[in-house]
């Protein structure tokens, strides 16, 4: 019961954050939200270039993730 409560509460917190974040994006100029978002996305992409994975290993991981989702 407690675990269920935590799950619902966690989901609602995440959804509330999405609403707050969207409200902030709508308030500020494109230059502002996109600069901050760009720092996150660019660092994510740069980091993936340092991943010690071969293409085959990457595709196997993707296939495993898809299997888990089914």
């Amino acid at each position: 019961m407690e675990l269920e409560f935590d799950r619902v509460s966690h989901r609602n917190e995440r959804l509330a954050f999405v609403r707050r974040y969207a409200a902030w994006v709508k308030r500020v100029p494109n230059e502002e939200w996109s600069r901050q978002q760009g720092a996150l996305i660019d660092s994510f992409i740069e980091n993936t270039r340092n991943m010690p994975l071969t293409c085959r290993e990457y595709l196997d991981r993707v296939a495993d993730r898809r299997q888990d989702l089914r």
């Binding site: 969207a22 996150l40 660019d42 270039r49």
Partner: protein, 200 residues
């Protein structure tokens, strides 16, 4: 956020172009020499500011004949893109697409980010291709799926990330969306957004 929406066109001026945006813009500029396309799913929310990364971008193209796909294969290869598959010849990849499987494409010798490309498979896929929306960005443009369809589709998928993407798009576009189109999209996928405050 400054969005100028008119018909099937949205202008996003002044946006910082991320490495992911640049990759997608380079890809679609090459792809559209041979075929129409539409970008769908997670990248749509990210394009409008959702604060999350992704390693793959979903793209739909019409079902092509083998010789037309061979031209797509060639233009992408010459454009600096490679196919993430052990069998990367045009006929092998065509067989995958024709079997309703996706093929992955990245810049040559890289694998992230990548495009997950499929043939349009059903009525919804054909609809989003036909009614795609042109997003004009600094330095290029990208065709994406209509926003109401994207919101309804994300609700239909129902995963945590999908619901959050749907809510985000709704919050960004709620004042610009046509209520008829939004309700029709929700009905088409048999979903309701009330639980999340989505809907008109």
């Amino acid at each position: 956020m400054d969005l100028r929406c008119s018909g099937n066109r949205i202008v996003v001026s002044g946006k910082y172009i991320t490495l992911l945006d640049r990759f997608v813009m380079d890809f679609v500029r090459t792809l559209e020499r041979e075929t129409p396309y539409v970008v769908v799913s997670g990248f749509v929310a990210i394009l409008f500011g959702r604060s999350r990364g992704t390693e793959d971008v979903d793209v739909l193209i019409p079902r092509l004949e083998p010789e037309d796909f061979a031209a797509v294969h060639e233009v992408l290869r010459r454009g600096g893109f490679g196919f993430l598959s052990e069998d990367d010849e045009a006929d092998d990849l065509y067989a995958m697409l024709a079997a309703n499987r996706a093929i992955r494409i990245a810049r040559t010798d890289e694998f992230i980010p990548n495009i997950e490309m499929k043939f349009a498979r059903d009525e919804v896929d054909r609809f989003v291709l036909r009614d795609r929306v042109d997003i004009e960005l600094p330095g290029g443009s990208i065709f994406i799926s209509p926003i109401p369809i994207q919101i309804a589709y994300n609700l239909y998928l129902g995963g945590r990330k999908d619901i959050e993407d749907a809510l985000y798009l709704w919050e960004i576009f709620r004042d610009d969306l046509d209520s008829g189109a939004m309700n029709a999209a929700l009905a088409q996928f048999g979903v309701r957004g009330d639980e999340y405050g989505i809907g008109i």
